[in-house]
């Protein structure tokens, strides 16, 4: 057990930070309260440093933690900058002479829940068994319900939090049910043992129906976290109801955790294709259908929206669909053996989720940087002609949305490209064409978003949009926009890192018992 703990230092550091923040957040001293963001930032920094240097845990995908945890910390840092002062009004009231009441202070709470959710994501990557996986995934989600509810004083935020919570609970029940069936079918909770069981079953003629059903239920349950069909219904309402920085968080952290879990679950059966053994075809078909439906429905609904956040919400559904293509590709191609990084579906998904996380963050944060008569930006009309007064914001929005659209040469193009190459390698031509047409459909609303800052309608008479005084948020948005170009220089390295991250631990006769010295998987490949 202790050797497991030794791989968890980043999470432990963040947890200590959370403890500290709980104290500082309710402190009567204004300066200590304000120091909360700095403490969180320092915590993330240390967690990042440790995450880079941690030894690999002995899990199904040993490299995954080494890729995803630093990425989570780095993106978490940007999110923290964006989250900054969700609670600025209370502070100004206190400045105005009101007595400080710890019960009203939500900023410390927000930061705590934010970090806890991030810890959940990081724990997902080191999961070795189903219980851990379930707990980590729920740890990612539970804090987000509170974050949504407390992010705005409007009732809309609370309404969306309640929706989010109930649907989330239902989804958790579904995939827990799936986990139970997996346990029943394989007799183990350990992912490595499950894989061994699958090997035995496959050698005996195919994976049993109970395990297939379990995997299917788990996939459907997790589709809630990644906002994919059939559990996508909450997305638009919840994203719209929450404050924009929190929405940016929702669009990345639970989604990343969901994809990590999906990769681990599918990883148990992935290598079967290599030996030419029968393959859980039903799961592949399920993912295929989910991918096609998710992107199509997401894009089709996004096109009809006039509210910017709803567009981004539906488009985030569509992005999940694209990433599911990567999963389908990885399954079809039977793991990653003999492949180059550019044809590894899982690596493409990891690349995509990082790129998507960064650019989507920029798009949401631009909205959070602006206000109209004290209200958040809502419709296209609000940001029309943005360039004439806030040229920097218009540029950031354009860069981020064009990258999300997949316009070359921005990095979003390469993210899509890797998904396409991996899917073509897997022979999924139809799915690639569906994805291509969806990207083209998405271009319509992304182009509207990118161009609306420049293109004025004839009757347009100046905008009433003002900047909010959140300079850290503006900085974070700027960074993510710059990343759409700067990441081009790191594309090769990031993709190769993603490829190494998803290498499966070599299959052994009795993996659980022989968990002795770590096998040098690099030499093994």
């Amino acid at each position: 057990m202790l050797d497991r703990v030794a791989t968890l230092w980043p999470e432990i550091i963040l947890f200590v930070t959370v403890m500290l923040l709980m104290l500082t957040g309710t402190s009567g001293d204004k300066d200590i309260r304000r120091a909360g963001s700095w403490i969180a930032g320092l915590g993330l920094l240390f967690a990042f440093i440790f995450a880079v240097r941690m030894p690999e845990p002995e899990t199904l995908m040993p490299g995954l933690a080494g890729f995803m945890r630093p990425a989570a910390c780095a993106l978490g840092f940007l999110l923290l900058l964006g989250l900054g002062n969700v609670d600025a009004r209370l502070e100004s009231e206190v400045d105005g002479g009101r007595r400080f009441d710890p019960l009203d202070a939500t900023q410390g709470e927000q930061l705590c829940f934010f970090l806890l959710s991030l810890i959940g994501l990081m724990l997902c990557t080191t999961a070795s068994d189903l219980i851990w996986l379930f707990l980590a995934l729920e740890m990612t989600s539970l804090p987000t319900y509170v974050m949504v509810a407390r992010s705005r004083s409007k009732t809309a935020a609370q309404e969306s939090a309640v929706k989010y919570f109930f649907l989330g609970a239902a989804a958790a029940a579904i995939f827990l049910y799936g986990f139970a069936m997996l346990y029943g079918a394989t007799g183990s909770l350990h992912l490595l043992d499950i894989r061994a069981a699958f090997e035995v079953q496959a050698a005996a003629g195919g994976i049993g129906p109970l395990a297939i059903l379990g995997l299917a239920l788990a996939v459907i349950g997790v589709s809630f976290k990644i906002a994919a069909v059939p559990m996508h219904f909450y997305t638009a309402d919840v994203y719209e109801g929450a404050a924009a920085p929190v929405t940016a968080f929702l669009a990345f952290v639970p989604k990343a955790a969901g994809f990590v879990v999906l990769m681990l679950l599918l990883g148990t059966a992935l290598h079967l294709g290599e030996g030419g053994q029968p393959w859980p075809e039903a799961i592949r078909v399920l993912l295929w259908v989910l991918a096609a439906l998710t992107m199509t429905i997401g894009n089709a609904l996004a096109m009809w929206q006039n509210r910017v956040k709803r567009i981004l919400a539906y488009s985030s559904i569509a992005h999940s669909g694209y990433m599911l293509v990567g999963l389908v590709a990885a399954m079809e191609a039977g793991g990653s053996a003999g492949a180059s990084p550019a044809t590894n579906g899982f690596a493409a998904v990891l690349f995509y989720i990082v790129v998507y996380g960064i650019t989507n963050l920029g798009a949401f944060l631009v909205l959070a940087c602006l206000e109209r008569r004290g209200e958040e930006i809502e419709t296209f009309d609000d940001i029309e002609g943005l360039w004439s007064r806030h040229s920097g914001h218009a540029t950031i929005l354009a860069l981020c949305t064009l990258s999300l659209m997949g316009l070359p040469p921005l990095v979003g193009f390469f993210a899509k490209l890797f998904l396409f190459t991996s899917a073509i390698r897997a022979g999924e031509y139809v799915l690639v064409i569906v994805a291509g047409l969806n990207s083209a459909a998405a271009a319509w609303y992304y182009l509207r978003l990118a161009g609306v800052g420049w293109v004025k309608r004839p009757g347009w008479e100046g905008s009433e949009v003002e900047r909010t005084p959140a300079s850290a948020r503006r900085f974070a948005a700027g960074v993510s926009a710059a990343m759409t170009i700067l990441l081009l220089a790191l594309t090769a390295r990031l993709l190769s890192a993603g490829d190494q991250a998803v290498q499966l631990r070599p299959s052994e006769a009795a993996p659980h018992h022989a968990a002795g010295p770590a096998v040098d998987r690099l030499a093994d490949r």
Partner: protein
């Protein structure tokens, strides 16, 4: 050297955005002229003795796992199109000094970025670099139309963007398929155009047909071929003058260049097989476009539809797959760029003065604008294909190519896929072109003198600058080089034809030989079946 060529417009764009707005036009003109001067140096450095080979090459690694390299180079055809781009951009910029009065810096910024992207398309030796540049032309053009266009600009810009974006994503899928086939065969990724072309050309005819279909999705929209041409009249009509010029002169050539550079060499057997189908689409486009022109009352729309018709000739030449046809087609790309670009400039100059594009409101301008009249008539004649001017050479060669296409080429048993009928029917398009363009010129220039009611001047919401009655020196400086080029290419077509001979004959042999091979294989299969 080519990288510098790409960087000059980009750096100039930065200079434009950093300096005050009143200097923007001047900086942009100087920068784009410098790019032209640099392209002349490239021309000097190019060895025309070996014009089919990629020259002036350069290459840097970009994304290693994908084998993506930033590699540049030109053969003589690409070089000609580079020259066309580099020559037309400064003229288009010079032509919009007074037309653009608001948001001046952004306008020149987008023009220069557009120039860099277009040059990037022609100098790319790597497939993805090509694709990136190809797609990136959309963004500057979108903003040029959406911000500086006339009344219906919002719709036009979005339709333009979506049409081309959708098509080219399918093209990307086709290209990726080829890259994957290469990976499958050799175990490593590359996007080197030469390597992928060789791989694709060795695929089976059925695979080639799918690749051809995917490629055509993007390139046919860009050309545009009938029936996916509907974005073009809208975009041309609504774009500002400089935008229309670049759109007609260069952006449409991206499609024909794509067909020449990718569709033909990559899927030679399929191209040969389906060339008659493509030719039929071309002919429908030629005649349909010409008929629409005949009844058109909007000047820009008329020239836009004439582009549909003319580009039909251009692709028809490619589909003929013989030296005359392909050579004529390349010639046509240059000529159409010059004369249609110039016509858009002429119309734009009228629009700047009278703020209307309607032929109903204008007439008899010869009386008022003699210098303009001289230029306009000259370019109309060039566009009609009057022997002695440039238009004639390309048009004649494409016909001749289509007409004689069935004859065996260079010792190979099968000839091109077309025949005399294709040439004969397409020729009616030439007659129609004479009719509509001369009607247009006759009405606008020599008809009854009447001008629009100036009380409702300003159909759009842009501010205007007062201009002299006839052309000013700046406008003459824009049109005169074009006129000179049209004249020179009319009397000296050999200057270009001799330089493109090698790559043209190479591709003609390549396509026909592949078609022979594939027919032979089919014949063997059939005899074995029996």
């Amino acid at each position: 050297m080519l990288l510098t060529l790409l960087l000059i417009p980009i750096l100039t764009a930065f200079a434009v955005i950093l300096r005050p707005a009143r200097q923007a036009a001047l900086i942009a003109t100087i920068g784009s002229t410098a790019a032209f001067a640099w392209s002349m140096l490239v021309w000097r450095a190019f060895d025309f003795g070996d014009s089919a080979a990629m020259q002036v090459t350069a290459s840097w690694t970009w994304i290693e796992p994908l084998g993506l390299r930033l590699s540049l180079g030109v053969d003589s055809i690409a070089l000609l199109l580079v020259m066309l781009t580099a020559a037309l951009t400064p003229l288009a910029i010079l032509g919009s000094w007074t037309a653009i009065t608001q948001r001046v810096r952004e306008f020149y910024l987008w023009m220069l970025i557009l120039e860099a992207a277009m040059l990037g398309v022609f100098v790319a030796r790597d497939l993805l670099v090509f694709y990136i540049a190809f797609e990136f032309t959309l963004i500057p053009m979108y903003f040029l139309i959406a911000v500086y266009g006339s009344t219906n600009r919002a719709r036009a810009s979005i339709v333009f963007f979506l049409y081309t974006f959708t098509g080219s994503i399918l093209t990307l899928v086709g290209l990726l398929y080829v890259a994957w086939a290469h990976w499958d065969q050799y175990g490593r990724w590359t996007f080197d155009i030469a390597a992928l072309t060789a791989t694709a050309a060795s695929m089976s005819a059925a695979q080639q047909a799918w690749v051809l279909l995917a490629l055509c999705c993007g390139f046919a929209v860009k050309v545009p071929l009938f029936p996916v041409h509907t974005w073009l009249p809208l975009a041309h009509t609504e774009a500002p003058t400089a935008g229309s010029v670049i759109l007609a002169a260069v952006l449409l050539k991206l499609g024909t260049y794509g067909l020449y550079r990718f569709a033909m060499p990559m899927c030679p057997a399929a191209f040969h097989e389906y060339a008659p189908l493509i030719a039929v689409l071309c002919i429908v486009g030629i005649i349909y476009g010409a008929l629409v022109c005949w009844v058109q009352r909007d000047m820009k729309r008329l020239i836009a539809y004439s582009s549909v018709s003319h580009l039909g000739f251009c692709v028809l030449g490619l589909a003929a797959i013989n030296a005359a046809g392909v050579g004529g087609s390349v010639m046509y790309m240059i000529n159409h760029g010059l004369s249609t670009g110039a016509l858009f400039l002429c119309v734009g100059m009228v629009y700047e003065r009278f703020h209307t594009r309607s032929l109903d409101e204008l007439g008899g301008l010869a009386r008022r604008m003699p210098v303009w009249t001289a230029f306009t008539i000259f370019f109309v004649l060039s566009s009609v294909g009057l022997p002695g001017l440039n238009g004639f050479v390309g048009e004649f060669l494409t016909f001749f190519g289509a007409f004689t296409s069935g004859q065996p080429v260079q010792g190979l048993p099968t000839g091109g896929p077309l025949g005399p009928w294709y040439g004969a029917i397409a020729a009616t398009g030439m007659i129609l072109a004479a009719i509509y363009l001369l009607y247009f010129a006759g009405h606008l220039v020599f008809g009854a003198y009447h001008l629009p009611d100036t009380s409702h001047a300003g159909h759009d919401d842009h501010a205007h600058v007062r201009l002299p009655r006839d052309l000013c020196m700046r406008e003459i400086a824009v049109l005169a080089p074009l006129a000179l080029l049209c004249f020179w290419l009319g009397v000296q077509p050999g200057a270009i034809l001799s330089r493109i001979e090698q790559p043209v004959s190479e591709i003609v042999t390549h396509v026909n030989a592949a078609a022979d091979r594939s027919m032979l294989i089919t014949a063997i299969d059939e005899s074995e079946d029996r």
